[in-house]
Symmetry: C2
Subunit: 712 residues, 2 copies
């Protein structure tokens, strides 16, 4: 119990940090009346969107809540509620701070770069630490209530089921938030650019563009609230899946201790992340990226130390563990697994930066290809997006094999838990992005002096890199987290098969031979799982296209009906664009979100109807792995490709020197070609790609729930 108390205190620390940081952001100067008016419109739009999104999710959630209560238990239903509500709270508070920090960052940027950086990063840190802290608190407090409070044994199925539904609650929010937010933000961005930059010839963020407020709202609901929900989910489900594995693999005191371990790691990393935030300080070289990396590296190093302390002193480095499946390891090996998680994180960030950074071959090759036209730009971008999957996949493969050789499946789970324990810091880096992006927009719209805009541009450029890098981390961790969920599925199935009552659906299931690749249901499951990310990606790309199309029409309508807009004498109706996109995004997110939720259930019952229960479990299991395999490649290729296109376009802003030595400036034909690539990359990297993360995880957690329901 004393450990649980420490964990909960660490979780509360993150809330205390959040409160302090919010208060410190809010205390900053909010700028002049025009700036506050613009920021007010963004706040209003963002709040309206989130309210509507959460209302819609609440309807779906209410149905799931009742189902969970009826099919499982009251504790499970409440677990679902906790996961969903806390995920929503983290996203909501984070976004509310973000839409207030934007204008303050713009104002601070008129003082100095350091001041602007401080506010933007502090606002990001609120979201980051709330994500990690609330996810940890949700799991730890509910676990404490169930065990110490209600007296269930930690390994009791009631506890496990309740934790899994908690993870599912987080998942459900996540898929809706990622997809809805992604459609909103890119509908606004693509639509606004098409009609503003291309047709009307006005710059981005020009106040005459009726879609410009919607674009700024979109940054917040997509990159801030969407990413927060995504990583809240990965964090929660990975901790929960690791606990499930611990409860199955071990017994007695060891089971309880190792069930606590993921929470202990999470708790210590909340503390190291808080400390890390204080290392984010602009150095003498004025490198913003350097300042942010200082914070990240400090967190990673301190986390390694914390992990060493946990394994060497709390567990005792030589303590021996043997899983029920016969893997033997000592506590020290778990420390090495944690290091594997940290190294994988570092390498993925490094590779993502290589593929999306302006200075390296991939982005340069896209910029070079822009010189010969729109078509070659897109071809090269697609080539980069395909190629960019190889190294991350190899890193993930190496991580899996090394962690497994150290401590089996549980070792992989600990590696991923440690990777995710850094989520607080990583989300802080990401949520910094929309704040600086908005700050630039506000500076532009409020006609602040050019120096302010160039300061916010410098911050924004770094924000683009951190956003790309976070996406690499989010998809890598989602893939690995999903593999842990998959392991939980197979181990759970083993457990239920071993304890099956006569006549139960689990009777006689032999998990050792179940997932045999020569079973046609396994091959069918793999293929069916494989098609889900493709179909999901296709639907979400189409949704963005449709949303963008409606923005184009709305803006054209306003330009036509209010001819004074372009002359600057009439104010566009920003609210209508926001309102329209809100409706479009909510409408478009429902069907694709239900695809991964319902697939495991439908596959199970269809196969069960035509074949044996064993075939049905095999098909569902293989489907999970199919989703992970193609999902990983689809998501990495989309996010990396999109990031590379974005930065290829940015290469032209300072003049791109091609291989013949000719310089191509903004406005050149080559630049226009690069804008096409960037437009294509937008839904790739901000809608379809990131939304694949939650879909990978939700398919897996639904399958885990399905087992619980069948066993009930």
């Amino acid at each position: 119990m004393s450990e649980l108390l420490v964990i909960i205190v660490c979780g509360l620390l993150s809330i205390a940090y959040g409160a302090w940081a919010i208060q410190s952001v809010m205390a900053a100067d909010a700028g002049n009346a025009r700036m506050q008016e613009i920021a007010g419109a963004i706040q209003e739009g963002a709040q309206a969107y989130l309210t509507r999104q959460y209302t819609t999710i609440a309807i779906v959630g209410a149905v799931v809540f009742v189902l969970a209560w009826v099919l499982l238990s009251g504790t499970a239903a409440i677990g679902f509620l906790i996961g969903a509500v806390l995920s929503g709270v983290a996203g909501f508070i984070g976004m509310m701070v973000s839409v207030r920090a934007n204008v303050r960052t713009a104002q601070a940027a008129s003082q100095s770069l350091a001041a602007g950086l401080e506010i933007a990063f502090k606002s990001g840190a609120v979201t980051g630490l709330l994500v990690a802290g609330l996810a940890l608190l949700g799991v730890a407090v509910y676990y404490a209530v169930l065990t110490a409070g209600m007296g269930y044994a930690p390994t009791d199925r009631v506890v496990i089921d309740a934790l899994v539904t908690l993870g599912f609650g987080a998942s459900l929010i996540s898929i809706f938030a990622r997809l809805g937010g992604g459609i909103f933000t890119k509908g606004a961005d693509v639509g606004g650019d098409l009609v503003g930059k291309v047709e009307a010839g006005i710059p981005e963020d020009d106040p005459r563009n009726p879609a410009t407020i919607a674009d700024n709202v979109g940054d917040n609901v997509g990159d801030c609230a969407g990413m927060a929900a995504d990583l809240f989910e990965t964090y929660a489900v990975t901790v929960v899946a690791t606990m499930v594995l611990a409860s199955i693999f071990f017994s007695g005191a060891q089971a309880i201790e190792l069930m606590l371990l993921p929470m202990v790691i999470g708790a210590s990393c909340v503390v190291t992340s808080i400390i890390g935030t204080f290392f984010v300080k602009l150095g003498a070289n004025e490198s913003i990226m350097g300042a942010l990396y200082k914070g990240f590296i400090a967190t990673a190093l301190l986390s390694a130390v914390a992990l060493a302390i946990i394994t060497f002193f709390w567990l005792g480095q030589g303590t021996e563990y043997t899983t029920t499946s016969g893997t033997t390891f000592v506590a020290r090996h778990l420390f090495y697994c944690g290091l594997v998680g940290l190294v994988v994180t570092g390498l993925i960030i490094w590779v993502t930066e290589y593929y999306t950074g302006t200075g390296f071959r991939p982005v340069r090759s896209i910029a070079q290809a822009s010189v010969t036209g729109h078509g070659t730009n897109v071809i090269q971008g697609l080539a980069v997006s395909l190629e960019a999957t190889a190294l991350p996949a190899i890193i993930i493969i190496a991580g899996i094999l090394v962690a497994h050789s150290l401590a089996g499946l549980f070792g992989i789970a600990i590696a991923v838990t440690t990777m995710l324990a850094l989520a607080g810091m990583v989300v802080a880096l990401d949520a910094f992005g929309p704040v600086t992006d908005n700050a630039g927009g506000i500076a532009e719209m409020a006609d602040l002096p050019a120096e302010v805009r160039s300061t916010t541009d410098a911050l924004d450029a770094v924000g683009n890199t951190t956003k790309a890098v976070t996406k690499g981390y989010a998809i890598g961790s989602a893939g690995l987290g999903a593999l842990v969920l998959f392991a939980a599925y197979t181990e759970d199935l083993k457990y239920f098969a071993a304890n099956a009552a006569p006549g139960s659906v689990f009777e006689g299931i032999d998990v050792g031979t179940l997932f045999n690749l020569s079973n046609p249901y396994v091959v069918a499951g793999l293929l069916f799982g494989g098609l889900l990310p493709y179909l999901f990606g296709g639907i979400s790309m189409t949704a963005v296209g449709r949303a963008a199309g409606s923005v184009v029409e709305e803006v054209r309508r306003q330009f036509k009906e209010k001819p004074g807009i372009m002359a600057g004498t009439e104010r566009p109706d920003y609210g209508r664009a926001v309102d329209m996109l809100t409706k479009a995004a909510i409408k478009e997110m429902i069907v694709p979100s239900l695809l991964p939720v319902l697939s495991p259930i439908v596959v199970f019952f269809i196969v069960r109807a035509v074949a044996t229960p064993a075939d049905a479990f095999a098909a569902v299991g293989a489907m999970l792995l199919g989703v992970i395999v193609t999902g990983l490649f689809v998501a990495i290729s989309m996010t990396a490709g999109g990031g590379a296109w974005d930065n290829a376009k940015k290469s032209f802003e300072d003049g791109f020197v091609d291989k013949d030595g000719t310089t191509h400036l903004k406005g050149s034909e080559a630049h226009k070609a690069s804008v096409t690539g960037d437009t294509v990359g937008d839904p790739y990297k901000d809608t379809a790609g990131p939304a694949v993360n939650p879909m990978i995880k939700i398919t897996n957690i639904v399958a885990l729930l399905l087992l619980a329901v069948l066993a009930h």
Copy 2:
């Protein structure tokens, strides 16, 4: 033996048909001197390219030949040689006819549509029937030599190894031909269009464009020789893999009979394909597609009848079979499996037409998206390409499950064999494409009257559809064929494990539990296999970009150095562009082609070094399935997406009416946006996508060979 004789006679029939068709094509009028001159340049370029390509492959092939002799046996090495040479011969003869039929089609088109169609289709039928006939003859004659001639028992490993290396010979040609041809054709197409249509503002096939001959050469080396090698391979490896399965699953007379069965099916379908070609006749409605489909449907129906005769009379419909793994079925079930193969073929063609045809939602949505710009065109095209994978995957899944429920793994093999037995007819439809495409080019360059061009355009439009449809068939059959190869891998492994000598690498391997999805090496293998099509796709897209870039530079140089070209007073140097592309394509094809060849070997030995042999076999097996799963999606999405973009562009040629009722004509901004999409789609559908087919198969056949070498 009497069956073998009949099979060989049927195979020879295809050669007789080929000889007759060639003579009948060559007898047609070859047009005026200018036309012959142009056609001569195309012939020369195509021959130069193929000669160089085969010379390069011969070097790689010589190394493999020696390796096969040393590591396996002389019979295996000779098998390799037979597969490689016959595949090369089919492609070479087919292409030689194709580059002579083009000018005759142009000439015949000046008489009538029916006359043009007849020559173009007959030329395609030469390639088609040579592919099916030579593949069948290669397998059957060598099998006869080994068994009846040299006295080996049909199920002897010497025979099996020799047949597998024969398949590998076909594979090696296939990957080089697909990739080299793909890079050549799209380098010429994309490069030529960029500098011709976009920069110089001259139409496609304008004789002033120095890349125009290269473009016409490309059609032949890509769509004719490349596709021929691809389907020759799928045909050969599927027949071989089915024979391997028969030799393992059955014993005694049943084994021999069922080893003959795939060849018997192939032989009967050669005959039905020949009969089918005579059904291709233009009806009163002048529908070219209708004429071609008449031939296809006749072949399919006759094949079903032939299949019924084979199973009901030759095998005896009630004959019972039991495999060594315990599956029991009667001969009648194999007939149903064959029907499954025919139905899968029909459905895939139907779905591909839906996704790439001008009249349906997907292509219309891309055309509509072009109205808002280049970016939205590409976004919608990508959305369609992703979505287009779902239905084919479901069709394939259904086919696998139904065939398996009828007759187990062997049932799947028979379904795929039957699907491929139609290859002769399908390749005929495809090889029709480059002939009509070239005919149009020749008509344009030789300044034939506009009516001729409009007749060749009508033929060419149908050629585009048949090309797209054939690609759907090629990838579907490649995926299924690869699954049969994968089954052969697992069954072979079982066989070697059961017969392992003490101390052998196969000792103690338990295939029943080997490919367990909870083994980390299986997960690692799946992920590694999954990355191969992505990496391969990325490299080949980059190669096309690079080749196109060098064409652009060459053409710009010629325009600059010979100012008379544009005025029409000076003749461009067509040969240089062809020569340059030849070098580029050959250079670029080597490394990516070796990737799938070496991967199974490298994975095996790396895993073997750090883990057990069982883990190594598991990792390789999972890798094979990983390649199939992502490869299938990558290839379908690329080929379908590319086809849809192509036809979206064509929608504008007759004027596209958007959803607001505005008509967009050729030359409009929307049309320009659609050209961008088409350019992107070019390497998608003609280089990277199709080249994934052979890479899926070659990985699997190399793994099968690896087993043979290890067992040796």
